[in-house]
């Protein structure tokens, strides 16, 4: 008997990919859990994670913010659950946990900017003007790390977007930074070195993170995604396209390994949804994901992961055709509300200023 004979259509490329029109692909199968409106949902990761955060807020879900200020949105309050900025690498996430719980005190306490401002090496662009003094920075960090602890301990769901394999770390104590020293503060010298993480390093780091997170929050569920945004730049001595291929492949393998090993970890294929349509979901720079691309990802996210929630009629959501709605070809529409996308805070953009 042909072992493939009894498999569903989704197991066959011809039936579930080649036969579909553009924008119809929904590769999500069974999901191990769903999110309900009362779930406290925290997000972190690369800049693509901010799309998820904004969408959850828009849909009225309980996007969990633990670090408040009067002006939400100002100086990144409310953009992230706590003001940790973008977390590009798994090691950075693990070290955020360790720093929040007093397990790791990095040698790099602060960096200076050329304008004399102090910056936090672990979130160098979190405040436009940096900090006026070291005392101000340390006070803010103490409050911030308290908010990080609250997020880890009280969230019901933690959504993490794997962004990069390339990073910069301290040669002294291994501290990993979101940006290379010299980009938004600090000075690049022999105290720092470039590191391109391997799959096993990322899996080990994330497993450590899971163990630690569960020890403070035993019932937490985790959703992993891989950012579909290509690398802005590579420090490897090779073409950025090759580095990008390695990075996405390694992140995807890490996500697969982790979700297979843990029932409470689910991989959501935002990377596949965006890249399955060639460059159609990218702007002309072939890097920025279009609004339609983001909306498509989020509509599939809603459909499968959000329990008892209809898709908001007020949203212009590009739904896959198999849901009974006409897919709208992005080429026939000019990009609307592009400024909304431009609000996404991507530290990587600073690399282009070098």
């Amino acid at each position: 008997m042909n072992p493939y004979a009894s498999l569903p259509e989704t197991a066959f490329w011809d039936k579930s990919v080649a036969s579909l029109g553009g924008y119809e692909l929904d590769p999500v199968g069974e999901v191990p859990f769903q999110l309900v409106a009362t779930d406290k949902i925290a997000t972190a990761g690369s800049c693509f994670a901010q799309h998820i955060a904004r969408h959850l807020t828009k849909k009225g879900f309980n996007y969990f913010i633990t670090e408040y200020e009067d002006k939400i949105g100002a100086e990144n309050y409310g953009v992230f659950p706590a003001r940790f900025g973008n977390i590009y690498t798994v090691r950075q996430l693990l070290q955020l946990f360790d720093r929040a719980y007093g397990l790791f005190v990095p040698v790099d306490e602060f960096w200076m900017r050329t304008d004399g401002a102090y910056v936090d090496p672990f979130r160098p662009r979190i405040q436009t003007k940096g900090f006026a003094s070291l005392a101000e920075l340390l006070e803010d960090r103490q409050r911030h790390l308290g908010s990080v602890r609250k997020m880890f301990e009280r969230c019901d769901v933690f959504i993490f977007t794997l962004g990069l394999t390339e990073g910069w770390k301290s040669s002294i104590d291994g501290a990993v930074f979101p940006l290379a020293p010299g980009v938004a503060g600090g000075t690049l010298d022999d105290r720092y070195k470039f590191h391109n993480f391997l799959v096993n390093e990322m899996v080990d780091d994330f497993n450590q993170f899971i163990r630690k997170l569960q020890s403070v929050n035993p019932s937490v569920k985790i959703v992993l995604t891989v950012s579909p945004v290509p690398l802005k730049a590579t420090y490897e001595k090779r073409h950025v396209f090759l580095s990008n291929t390695y990075s996405k492949a390694a992140l995807r393998v890490a996500a697969e390994t982790l979700s297979l090993a843990n029932a409470f970890v689910y991989y959501f294929p935002s990377y596949e949804i965006i890249t399955s349509n060639g460059s159609a979901f990218y702007e002309s720079d072939r890097r920025t994901v279009t609004r339609r691309g983001v909306e498509t990802v989020m509509s599939i996210f809603d459909l499968h992961l959000m329990a008892n929630e209809g898709i908001s009629a007020s949203l212009e959501v590009a739904l896959p055709g198999h849901l009974g709605l006409d897919p709208v070809c992005p080429s026939t529409r000019k990009p609307t509300k592009f400024e909304e996308l431009s609000q996404i805070i991507c530290d990587e953009e600073a690399l282009g200023d070098l």
Binding site: L103, V105, E153, S215, V216
Partner: protein, 287 residues
């Protein structure tokens, strides 16, 4: 009735409640805290033949000498054993350290296992402070301690024919100020059960005598532990009351500073299981 009550500080609390609930009996404390030399303890032991009822904790430590429960029982004395409260569910970090070590703090014999371990590991006060969090508590087993304490005390008490009404006690609030010191409503419950077992009628069931533990150290229930077991507390450590002085209260930062000052240059009981466990946890966590 002539009632002898043997035990640690809880014996005194029990007597206080028995006297309030059923006044008119001759209730006497029989404790090594009053007479600690062997001859005096032997005399106390012999005097027990003159009592109608002997209430005792199950005393096994050699320091109790002839007052050890097994020894008394072997002499043919009829003993009614009441449960000892050493409930670590609320204050799992508070460790009882002998005062003979000369650690002078306002908290009497009570020390933080976490602070002592941080000191022994050579961590700064600032780093010790940063370790007071949910992750370290989980590694130390603090979050499991309440359930474990309930299970252990409940089982031991049931074997003695007592019921530890933890849920009802918790409804009243945090029912220990340190692991050895139960709140009055706990001791009243135990006293009522002792009287019932001895068939002594209660004449004033509403009686609640003054808390004799007022002025003794109070260890707070840490915030993250409160959240998990459903109680509320501040993070204020209260020191032992001293004559003509106000009650001393300290926040976590101050408690750490006081402890570090007291530990400096002293020999610390690193062999105590709570302390050695905390040292191991900190080593594993921070390297």
């Amino acid at each position: 009735m002539k009632i002898g009550v043997i035990g640690n500080c809880q014996a005194l609390l029990l007597i206080n409640h028995i006297n309030a609930l059923s006044p008119g009996h001759d209730v006497t404390l029989v404790s090594m805290y009053r007479s600690s030399d062997e001859a005096a303890l032997a005399a106390l032991s012999d005097s027990l033949f003159g009592f109608d009822i002997i209430l005792t904790q199950n005393l096994t430590d050699s320091s109790w000498g002839p007052l050890r429960t097994k020894t008394l029982s072997s002499k043919g004395l009829k003993l009614d054993i009441y449960p000892t409260v050493h409930f670590t569910g609320f204050q799992p970090d508070a460790v009882h350290v002998s005062t003979r070590l000369g650690l002078r703090t306002p908290f009497g014999p009570w020390q933080s296992s976490l602070v002592m371990a941080a000191f022994l590991r050579g961590l700064s006060r600032k780093r010790a402070l940063a370790l007071f969090n949910a992750y370290i508590y989980s590694q130390l087993g603090f979050f499991d301690e309440y359930a474990a304490s309930v299970e252990y005390h409940g089982r031991v008490a049931r074997n003695l024919g007592f019921e530890m009404n933890f849920n009802a006690w918790k409804e009243e609030g945090i029912f220990t100020s340190v692991p050895h010191h139960p709140k009055p409503w706990v001791m009243k419950d135990i006293a009522l059960q002792c009287l019932a077992k001895c068939r002594i009628p209660v004449t004033d069931a509403d009686a609640m005598p003054v808390d004799m533990m007022i002025g003794t150290p109070v260890w707070p229930v840490y915030t993250e532990i409160c959240e998990r077991i459903g109680v509320y507390d501040d993070m204020i450590f209260k020191g032992r009351w001293q004559k003509d002085a106000e009650l001393q209260s300290f926040d976590l930062d101050e408690m750490i500073s006081i402890s570090y000052d007291a530990y400096d240059g002293r020999s610390l009981p690193s062999e105590l299981s709570q302390i050695s466990h905390a040292v191991q946890v900190i080593e594993a966590a921070v390297g």
